[in-house]
């Protein structure tokens, strides 16, 4: 199991579109994917779960991966977070 901390960078925060994109991306990997925020731990392959994190700009999340392709999954997802979901920052 591996972890990485990321920050929400885009202005709009983790709203519907990025939530959908994260779930789509995470579903490509076999590994389990969890997102932890303020003590909440949600399944990162659930769009409703990801949306309900209500993560606004500046919030810090912990990404947790567990499975055979965890390293590459973490790399790709962390990159998407770090790009501010390719939105206006």
């Amino acid at each position: 199991m591996i972890h990485q901390t990321v920050t929400i960078r885009n202005r709009a925060g983790l709203h519907t579109r990025p939530a959908a994109a994260i779930v789509k991306l995470a579903s490509k990997f076999q590994s389990e994917f969890y997102v932890i925020k303020d003590g909440f731990r949600i399944n990162g392959k659930s769009i409703i779960g990801v949306m309900t994190l209500a993560a606004a700009q500046g919030s810090t999340l912990e990404l947790e991966f567990d499975g055979p392709d965890e390293a590459v999954a973490m790399k790709e997802l962390a990159e998407y977070f770090n790009k501010g979901f390719e939105e206006e920052m």
Binding site: R11, H15, S46, I48, M51, E88
Partner: protein, 618 residues
């Protein structure tokens, strides 16, 4: 509580104008009662049935959302319909679905109750968020929950249909409702909830129907059949207006407004690409492209038999808001997508010109709506963003240049404030050109480059900007906001937003005069172009080109054809010298029109609101 219509007093409610325009008509009170599920203990043998019912409900929900998504795509284009794609993912969220199945099994509770409890808990988390945009997203989950409950509780299908053209009034409206009602005669809608950035507000703008949101507790005071005025200009809902108010609004609706799209009639007939004043001065007409969905309609009309050969050749796009392709989609399209988008437009309209304005995001145009800047309108937006993000900028300039290959593309920069910025922007164009040359890719080396004149500084220094560009285009909406220091989205002061303010007119005149002296064309692409009262002023300032929404082209041509440019020039000179207020300007124009018996021509040429409903019927 039913009251006699005669005795009903006038009520006024303040809300936020989510989509501009004025609608007048009877109310259609839409009750979307929220469904709640009751709890009861399940017998063990019922569990299988309940889980089957739950699976059937989710599969039904997917089918219906897909249906709505298809209607939406057809009516408002793919980007705006993407909300339904997200909803689709939500009802397919295996994590939530299996939690619900588990709970039915373990807790021995009915499917409806578990759906209600599980999804309410998730919606609640969003409602509790500090961030208003996040709170609005709770509506999306609530929407899914209600849809599932409806199937599970065997409720009838909501009748999303209005028989008489009406203004819909409700406490809340979902994006799916808005799309379905828009297929019948919805003139506009007014809702207690929502915000400017809620999905339903965005859809209203895409559909082009006036809408008010955040009216708080208006709906409970309104019954079906009550006469309503929905004022999407000032953000007000007037219930049972008196005769005088109603007359005033009817006049305003017919004369002053004219920005709508009435697609119930052919857009183009005859020589509309060039209008001629009675004394023979030509004004070129072009179209603004706001929404992707308009392209197909515009193209069909442009190629129809009623369009003259000349119009087909000349009537192009005076403004393509390229950010439209990101805004509703929430994302910047990549270079490959942009290559396709721009090339497609250039090809469709060839040989007519297509003016591509680089991304103008920021301010009111950011979909997600949580601005961290104190003054987003005075902040990081338009060309400022492009210059700070060279990768993004070059990634847009290259596709634009590639699309210019056949020589009918014009480039335009938004939000230019200093000559230095413009020089840097042109520098990037040259850089993109040399990148293309290095790859042996063709482009138009003479592609005209222009700027939007929308910041007063650019109008005042127009003389300094003109040597660097091939044309100016006046962005009257922002020019008005910046000149008058009025945010037209702010309902407390939006009445101060007056495009015919003498200060705005003087800046426009300075811009046009600078163009004339340099013998370079000046156009206008703001809403002022389709505003009937402004036509005499634009003719009087001898503007070269006016770009308006597609359906406003013909009415504008009708007005220009009825005016004498020399007389308009005199009127304009008089107004610029003497008028001190917008009211003063309007009075002088109205007097001018009535002396020439042109009032009728002008009010007939104005478009009626409610065009959205007719658009849907096509």
């Amino acid at each position: 509580m039913s009251r006699q219509k005669e005795t009903k007093e006038t009520l006024r409610f303040r809300g936020i104008a989510a989509s501009r325009g004025i609608a007048i008509g009877p109310a259609y009170r839409y009750f979307r009662t929220k469904l709640y599920a009751e709890d009861r203990p399940l017998q063990l043998q019922e569990v299988g049935i309940e889980i089957e019912r739950f699976d059937a409900a989710t599969s039904k929900a997917r089918q219906e959302i897909e249906k709505v998504r298809r209607v939406a795509e057809q009516k408002v284009g793919t980007p705006a319909s993407s909300i339904f794609e997200a909803q689709m993912m939500m009802v397919s969220d295996e994590f939530i679905l299996s939690t619900i199945r588990q709970r039915i099994k373990q807790e021995l509770r009915p499917a409806a109750f578990v759906v209600d409890s599980e999804l309410s808990a998730h919606a609640k988390m969003l409602e509790d968020a500090n961030d208003p945009t996040m709170r609005e997203r709770a509506d999306d989950i609530e929407d899914i929950k209600q849809r599932l409950l409806r199937y599970l509780l065997d409720r009838k299908k909501w009748a999303a249909k209005i028989e008489v053209p009406s203004i819909l009034v409700a406490d809340l409206l979902t994006p799916a409702d808005a799309i379905l009602f828009a297929r019948s005669s919805m003139l506009g809608f007014a809702i207690d909830g929502g915000g400017v950035t809620s999905h339903v507000a965005i859809l209203a703008r895409s559909l082009g129907i006036p809408a008010l949101v955040a009216l708080h507790s208006a709906a409970e005071h309104i019954e079906t059949g009550d006469m309503l005025i929905l004022d999407g200009e000032r953000g007000e809902l007037i219930v049972c207006p008196d005769h005088e108010t109603l007359q005033g609004y009817e006049q305003e609706q017919s004369l002053v407004l004219g920005t709508g799209v009435d697609l119930s009639e052919p857009i183009f007939k005859g020589e509309t690409a060039v209008a001629k004043t009675t004394d023979g001065h030509a004004v070129r007409l072009q179209m603004n492209l706001e929404f992707g969905s308009e392209v197909a309609v515009i193209e069909a009309e442009r190629l129809s038999e009623t369009t003259s050969a000349d119009s087909k050749k000349r009537l192009g796009l005076g403004l393509v808001r390229t950010e439209h392709f990101i805004l509703l989609h929430d994302d910047f399209p990549n270079e490959e997508e942009q290559n396709m988008l721009y090339r497609d437009l250039a090809d469709r309209f060839y040989p007519a010109p297509v003016t591509l304005r680089t991304f103008d995001v920021g301010g009111d145009k950011v979909l997600s709506g949580t601005y961290r800047e104190d003054n987003p309108f005075l902040g990081w937006r338009g060309l400022r963003i492009s210059l700070d993000e060279p990768e993004l900028f070059l990634g847009q300039l290259r596709p634009i240049l590639r699309a210019s290959e056949r020589g009918n593309v014009k480039l335009m920069f938004p939000m230019v404030t200093t000559v230095e910025e413009l020089k840097r922007a042109i520098g990037y164009v040259r850089e993109a050109e040399s990148q293309l040359r290095a790859n042996g890719e063709p482009y138009d080396a003479k592609m005209p480059i222009g700027i939007m004149v929308e910041v007063p500084a650019a109008a005042i220094l127009a003389e300094n900007f003109i040597p660097l560009v091939d044309y100016f285009s006046i962005g009257s909406n922002d020019l008005t906001q910046y000149t008058l220091a009025v945010d037209r989205g702010n309902d407390l002061i939006s009445t101060l937003y007056q495009e015919l303010h003498p200060a705005v007119l003087r800046l426009m005149k300075m811009t046009i005069d600078a163009g004339k002296r340099a013998k370079k064309p000046v156009s206008i692409c703001g809403e002022l172009g389709s505003y009937p009262l402004a036509t005499p002023i634009l003719a009087g300032m001898e503007i070269d080109e006016i770009s308006v929404s597609p359906a406003a082209v013909r009415p504008l041509a009708t007005r220009l054809n009825a005016l004498n440019q020399a007389e308009c020039r005199e009127l304009t000179t008089r107004i610029l010298e003497s008028a001190v207020s917008p009211e003063d300007v309007k009075r002088q124009i109205l007097q001018f029109l009535s002396e020439r018996k042109l009032i009728d021509v002008f009010s007939e040429s104005a478009l009626r609101p409610g065009f959205g409903a007719r658009l849907m019927k096509r």
